[in-house]
């Protein structure tokens, strides 16, 4: 028996250390299943002291490790490097403190995103970042990935909602980054940690900002007979200075899949695209913006603009959008999930080129995305058992990514780099830029034990 596992069992309880191959299968990948590797073991700490003890133990022996939440990530960020031990935080799922007076809450990393909003809903508050996986993903994972979601158009990403973090550094030391109710002094280590993809340490307590629930919410569903009409509508809403809470788009391929699935939302299947536009805030603001948005939709040839009449209808509009990725599972055994960002004024042009690229490679593409901030998800269904097809998918993906970068965009808006996008990093960053990132990592994790092999393409950067 592996002596490391034996000692880990001693450190925690035997039943909180998994090491049998059949037990480890679940932990081979995150939600992108084409990156896989079996961990050496999976441990389930239940307190920061246990996290620190495990980290110290592994670090002293030079054994790599990585934190994991719910495994819903979409970049292969939670795939273990060889010989890595996974520190699974799902059991650290307590909401420790809710402080309405200062609009903050303190949670453990394993708290499921939506549970926090549910816990504060009756008091009239919510936690804003809402990734589509919010019923499963953890706030610790959101911190690692700087997760977004439909409503970050108005409310910002995870980094805009985290006030402070208690972190176990990769050598086992526990430090507080950022404030715990007031500002912190010095460099913004909290901001640096958020989005570091599990490479700077493990957050064990997270102080988040709570927002007041907006008193009025209106959700619109507009459908268009051409993609261009929909994308021009998006660009114009933004250019008009309206800040919707969310502005989402789904194309015909996505609509068809959603409507054939359990997530059916009543989207018109003959439309080329639908937009979900949500406006929230004080009543007079919402009333005025709804009218302006309807005008813009009509001016661009929307066939119908429906305003959700009640909470049930609103939930249905959203169910289709939030279930879209799941619905795509019907189409093919595998799905290449893409995540790129472009300046939103370039949506019409870029989207039509994406269809052209897919067509060129004989592939389908289903677009479902956060149109309001230019965050595209052009997903390509494929069959991974067909190597020739996989090759075409990879080439098309790269071409799409290069297109987005050429238009002034980025290679990921919310999913992170992980393993999946690591080869794209040189498209947007120079060697010097990447070296600066490596230097930051060196400060947090001089020995490179915490989730190694992610984000920075080492091959390219021989010098460091």
């Amino acid at each position: 028996m592996d002596p490391v596992i034996e000692q880990l069992r001693h450190l925690l309880d035997p039943d909180r250390v998994l090491s049998e191959p059949d037990e480890l299968i679940v932990y081979e990948s995150d939600a992108v299943t084409y990156h896989k590797r079996r961990p050496r073991a999976v441990v389930f700490p239940e307190s920061r002291e246990e996290v620190a003890a495990v980290v110290r133990f592994l670090s002293e022996r030079g054994i790599p490790f990585l934190p994991r939440g719910a495994g819903t990530g979409l970049s292969g960020g939670a795939v273990p490097s060889p010989e890595s031990v996974i520190i699974e935080l799902a059991r650290m799922n307590r909401i420790l403190e809710i402080d309405y007076e200062n609009q903050r809450a303190v949670v453990e990393p394993g708290v499921i995103n939506v549970h926090l909003s549910q816990a504060v809903a009756d008091a009239g508050y919510f936690y804003a970042p809402d990734p589509s996986s919010q019923t499963a993903c953890t706030i610790g994972g959101n911190v690692a990935e700087n997760s977004g979601g439909p409503h970050c158009l108005k409310y910002g990403m995870t980094t805009n909602h985290i006030l402070g973090l208690e972190v176990v550094l990769p050598d086992g030391e526990i430090v507080q980054l950022g404030g715990d109710g007031a500002d912190a002094l010095g460099y913004d280590l909290r901001g640096l940690f958020i989005g570091s993809e599990g490479m700077f340490g493990i957050a064990t307590r997270i102080t988040v900002r709570l927002l007041r629930c907006p008193p009025t919410v209106e959700t619109l569903l507009a459908d268009f007979m051409t993609i261009e009409a929909a994308t021009h509508t998006v660009s114009e809403i933004i250019a008009a200075g309206i800040i919707p809470a969310a502005l989402e788009m789904m194309d015909k391929a996505t609509i068809g899949l959603v409507e054939a699935s359990i997530f059916a939302a009543g989207y018109p299947t003959d439309a080329a695209a639908v937009l979900i536009i949500e406006l929230d805030g004080l009543e007079p603001a919402v009333v005025r913006d709804v009218a302006r948005v309807i005008d813009i939709c009509r001016a661009h040839g929307a066939r119908e603009v429906r305003v959700a009449q009640n909470e049930t209808e609103r939930a249905r509009f959203w169910a289709g959008r939030k279930g879209a990725f799941g619905a795509m599972g019907r189409l093919s055994p595998d799905l290449m999930i893409q995540d790129a960002v472009i300046p939103r004024s370039k949506l019409p042009r870029v989207l039509s080129q994406i269809y052209r690229i897919a067509e060129h490679y004989g592939l389908q593409v289903a677009n479902v995305f956060h149109a309001g901030d230019g965050n595209l998800h052009p997903n390509i269904p494929y069959d991974g058992r067909d190597p020739e097809m996989l090759e075409r998918v990879k080439r098309a993906s790269r071409e799409i990514m290069e297109l987005c970068v050429r238009e002034g965009g980025s290679i990921t808006g919310e999913h992170g780099v992980g393993l999946d996008k690591i080869d794209y990093m040189p498209l947007i960053f120079s060697d010097a830029d990447l070296e600066a990132m490596v230097r930051v990592r060196r400060c947090f994790d001089p020995r490179g034990l915490c989730n190694p092999g992610k984000v920075i393409p080492i091959r390219r950067c021989r010098a460091f």
Binding site: G181, A182, D188, G195, P284, A285, G374, S430
Partner: protein
């Protein structure tokens, strides 16, 4: 040194420090002040400084050079003020690229033509460059409604201490590619690199800007009002408490006696009106008076608040506490500083920032009494998980009281970052926290 620098930036852009008093760094006269015309020139200068171990203080217009612990000496001040172009403004995207030397006021004027703005209001926006605002993460009373510089920076160009130019972030509003180095440089006080270009996301400029003054009650009553407001659906962009003494200084024409809670709304006209009505109703229940502050008066008043303090006190401090502690701190401040002259206090009770300014008769006795009071206040802030920084103070005070206070267990991480990014310690050495 002179000749070398002239060869890089051109003869007319190299000035002796004693001929440019506005670039004196907290009492230290630099050897030379440079005005490079491009990021490449900044890079060339830093490469040379890195080799020669020249001590460099980055600057914009030089108005923020007193902030921080004093430097022992300064060889070169590098001002970015010639880098003042708005490079690419995409109104339809609400994004912009701008050089670091552009002032906030000029910048907002230019993009204002498209009905957009960067909603930050640090002191003296005419003399504050965007680079400097980002470097010190300066802010004003609008923080409650609009947040901080870190919330708007989507990309940066930085010349590192060794002269290498890097970029962080990008030009799109949503981006998680790589570590978020924007956050490292924003608020790093020029100790890690020199920002030469910034990409921001912008906001639509609000239609209407209205201010209301709540008065007629004791502090406890105003506290109740503030608490009710932040709990309500209303969304004030600023919520500032001015104790009676400060009202007399900042708002000499004030029609009311006693302390005032200022409430500011910015939005579409009907939305501001709606909030004003709601405010009236809620406040009436508490037995307080609400008066609308006329547009011109409001503008002057906010200006006085944001350029705090009026007529520059000798010492200005900024505190940060959880907002639930803000009112109790104000009472404590007034008691603790009762012996100082001209104490002015402005409490941003929505976000927990408190500005305090005081003057003292210049004797060792009064100075040490003031320092003792500030130390006591710092302890009180720290007890509330917050801090107190000396925003502006004479060197004599700084000698007795660290500008920043203790950062605790993260000092090691911060020093490691400084070591990685500025191994020779040429950029503002010692000016920031933990001896950085």
């Amino acid at each position: 040194m002179y000749n070398e620098l002239e060869a890089i930036v051109g003869k007319e852009w190299v000035r002796p420090g004693n001929a440019t008093p506005e670039y004196t760094v907290d009492g230290v006269v630099p050897d030379v002040v440079l005005f490079p015309g491009s990021a490449d020139e900044v890079a060339e200068v830093l490469r040379r400084a890195h080799e020669a171990r020249w001590i460099v203080a980055p600057a914009g217009f030089g108005t923020g050079l007193d902030l921080g612990n004093p430097l022992a000496k300064v060889d070169v001040v590098i001002s970015t003020r010639r880098l003042d172009r708005v490079l690419e403004h995409e109104p339809a995207d609400l994004t912009v690229s701008v050089e670091a030397g552009c002032s906030l006021a000029t910048f907002n004027e230019i993009i204002g033509e498209h009905g957009q703005w960067l909603p930050l209001n640090p002191p003296r926006p005419e003399q504050a460059t965007l680079g400097a605002i980002a470097a010190v993460e300066d802010f004003g009373s609008l923080r409650l409604g609009f947040g901080l510089t870190r919330d708007y920076v989507i990309g940066l160009t930085i010349v590192q201490a060794d002269g290498t130019i890097i970029k962080s972030g990008g030009r799109v509003v949503k981006n998680v590619a790589g570590y978020d180095l924007n956050k490292l440089f924003v608020g790093s006080h020029g100790t890690l690199g020199i920002i030469t270009q910034l990409n921001f996301k912008l906001r639509p400029r609000p239609e209407v800007d209205s201010t209301y003054a709540l008065s007629g009650g004791a502090l406890a009553r105003l506290e109740e009002a503030a608490r009710e407001l932040v709990r309500s659906e209303l969304a004030p962009v600023a919520l500032n408490l001015l104790p009676a003494g400060t009202v007399r200084r900042c708002w000499p024409s004030s029609p009311v006696d006693g302390s005032v809670l200022l409430v500011r709304f910015m939005d579409l006209e009907p939305v501001v009106q709606y909030q004003a009505d709601q405010l009236q109703q809620r406040v009436a229940r508490l037995g307080l008076d609400v008066s609308t502050v006329g547009a011109e008066t409001a503008m002057a008043l906010w200006r006085a608040i944001d350029d705090f303090p009026v007529d520059g006190g000798d010492v200005t401090v900024r505190m940060s506490v959880p907002r639930s502690e803000a009112f109790s701190m104000v009472g404590l401040i007034e008691r603790t500083l009762s012996a100082a002259d001209d104490v002015q206090v402005i409490a941003c009770v929505g976000d927990g920032t408190i500005w305090v300014s005081a003057s003292y008769e210049d004797t060792e006795f009064t100075r040490s009494r003031l320092v003792a009071s500030l130390k006591a206040l710092r302890r009180e802030c720290e007890r509330r998980r917050g801090h107190l920084i000396l925003y502006r103070a004479p060197r004599a005070v700084k000698r007795e009281l660290d500008v920043w206070g203790e950062v605790g267990a993260t000092a090691g991480l911060m020093r490691a970052l400084k070591q990685q990014f500025d191994p020779h310690g040429i950029l503002n050495p010692g000016r920031f926290v933990a001896g950085i």
